[in-house]
């Protein structure tokens, strides 16, 4: 089993979720994060004091999936989250040892 972790632009959340649902993924966890990368931030000025804001609002999505559908998930996210403009974000995939559903104690792929 794997976790697919994606950093995306906030306004893309609904599209991404729909794309994932379309490929049969029905659970995910979202975190508000700030990203730093190639995409430039902006400058805010308060009475002459300038602040360069280089961290931009992003959303992090974490999805635990059986290993065999990782590629499907990655593709779904990529196509839904892409705007083609800098700052679209990243996807990282890593393995997990096991998963548990707290309510039932089911484990691994049954837990998802």
């Amino acid at each position: 089993m794997k976790i697919v972790m994606a950093i995306i632009k906030p306004f893309k959340l609904d599209e991404v979720r729909e794309a994932l649902t379309a490929v049969g993924i029905q659970g995910l966890t979202v975190t508000e994060v700030k990203g730093y990368g190639r995409q430039k931030g902006h400058t805010e000025i308060y009475r002459g004091t300038e602040y360069a804001v280089s961290f931009l609002p992003k959303l992090k999505i974490e999805i635990a999936v059986p290993s065999d559908i990782v590629d499907t998930a990655v593709e779904a996210i990529t196509s839904a989250a892409k705007t083609g403009q800098i700052g679209d974000g990243k996807i990282f995939v890593y393995s997990i040892d096991h998963a548990v559903r707290i309510r039932t104690g089911e484990t691994d792929s049954e837990a998802l």
Partner: protein
């Protein structure tokens, strides 16, 4: 009797002011010869003036909290929000008590000194429900309690204005101690000098309708000295210190505008034409200053900001404070149009040059705006410029007087404030520790956090 004449002469204004500041206390009258009493046919307060002063007085309280608290509080980081609200609240409360204990006496206690009101009215001694204070109109009086309450709100808000300058690093005890000392040795004397018939600046003929000198220049200078002596915030110029809630800052500014009508119109002491003039001027100078600040920002950086509009709002209110009762509506707009670009230039350029850390720009807005207003009052009161000055009004001589008044205030306030900061530093210390500053004053000084979910 209550109409404010276009030819209202300044000397008459001065004479009336004299009366205003020597309240005709009932107690005093009782000791006077019966003949005098009969002759006097002691005027009684008009109910309309009573209602008017009641409104004006509570409006000034509204300026302090929530107004000033939110205006300043919105500008600091969330972790210091409560410290600002707390300082405004507690300083206001302490000053109200100080005012009835000795402040009113020190400012308006009836002494003939040019600097000091004396000890005659400690604990409001001799003031009764029937005591009255004169106004600017012969034969028109208000309840002395009304005058005391109105002036009490000024004494409450002025020291609180200062705390914006060293917000986010001052010790709570130091803030309270300093402001009480400052009120005692700076505010009361200068209020006496400017508003009492025997006062140094009053007798010079300086015009200060609602406290441009006493309140704004005074607080601005004390703020400047404080910002320098308390020192910069840890992380200043490096860390993000953007206002935690521009929304609250604008709400505070708008509340200040609302309340300022109490400040300015109320300074007329009666619901006559002078109050109406002060009202319309308070609208228009502010409108002019809002527009001007936005234009200044638009020219220099391509965008007008909400903080700019809010700052312009305050700059306009400050600049019209000494002028509200004597300039015309168009003069008020012009004053507003002038004040904003100057204040903007100061806070965005001059301040950065000097590098001091005046958190809420108390000096940049109240100090600088106050000076422009004090000088501008000397100009726009001229009847040729739409003001209500007498026919023989001389711009040159009045402006000279205004400048002298400003300089006296700056020097007195500057020197005494510096000494008081030093003393407070020695007694309780001015600053919190760096750790406490980093954690935020709300937690470290007050054991609370402003926001939870």
């Amino acid at each position: 009797m209550s109409s404010f004449k276009l030819t209202h002469s300044l000397s008459r204004m001065a004479a009336a002011m004299t009366a205003a500041l020597a309240p005709a206390v009932a107690f005093a009258q009782e000791t006077a010869p019966a003949a005098t009493e009969a002759a006097a046919a002691a005027p009684v307060p008009d109910k309309a003036d009573t209602a008017f002063m009641y409104l004006a007085t509570i409006l000034v309280l509204f300026m302090l909290v929530p107004g000033l608290g939110l205006f300043y509080g919105g500008l600091v980081r969330a972790k210091n929000m409560l410290s600002v609200l707390m300082q405004c609240t507690v300083i206001g409360a302490v000053m109200m008590i100080v005012w009835v204990v000795y402040g009113y006496s020190f400012a308006f206690g009836g002494s003939t000194s040019a600097y000091f009101g004396g000890f005659g009215k400690l604990f409001l001694s001799g003031v009764t429900l029937d005591s009255t204070s004169a106004t600017f109109t012969d034969g028109v009086v208000i309840y002395e309690y009304a005058f005391i309450a109105f002036q009490m709100t000024f004494a409450a808000i002025t020291p609180a204005l200062i705390i914006g300058a060293f917000a986010e690093r001052i010790k709570f005890s130091a803030a309270v101690l300093f402001t009480v000392l400052w009120a005692t040795f700076v505010y009361f004397p200068i209020a006496h000098m400017v508003w009492d018939a025997n006062g140094l600046i009053f007798t010079m003929g300086a015009l200060d309708f609602a406290g441009g000198t006493v309140v704004h220049i005074n607080a601005g200078v004390a703020g400047l000295i404080g910002a320098i002596m308390v020192g910069k915030r840890t992380g200043f110029g490096k860390d993000m210190m953007a206002p935690h809630s521009m929304t609250l800052t604008l709400v505070g500014a708008a509340m200040l505008w609302f309340g300022w009508f109490g400040f300015n119109a109320g300074s007329n002491l009666e619901a006559s034409g002078g109050a109406v003039l002060a009202t319309i001027n308070t609208f228009l100078a502010t409108a002019g200053a809002i527009v001007a600040w936005c234009l200044a920002e638009n020219f220099t950086r391509g965008k007008a900001s909400m903080l700019g509009a809010a700052s312009g709002m305050i700059a306009g209110l400050v600049v019209v404070t000494p002028a509200a009762g004597s300039v015309g509506p168009i003069g008020a707009i012009v004053l507003g149009l002038i004040a904003s670009p100057v204040c903007y230039f100061f806070v965005s350029t001059v301040k950065n040059k000097f590098g001091f850390d005046d958190t809420a720009d108390v000096f940049g807005v109240h100090g600088v705006g106050g000076i422009i207003g004090a000088v501008g009052t000397g100009i726009f009161t001229a009847p040729s410029l739409g003001g209500t000055g007498a026919a023989d009004f001389s711009i040159a001589s009045q402006t000279y007087t205004q400048i002298v008044a400003v300089l006296i205030t700056i020097v007195w306030c500057g020197i005494v404030s510096a000494i008081l900061y030093k003393i407070v530093d020695m007694v309780v210390g001015l600053r919190v520790s760096v750790e406490a500053e980093r954690e935020g004053l709300d937690l470290s000084s007050h054991g609370e956090a402003a926001y939870h979910s």
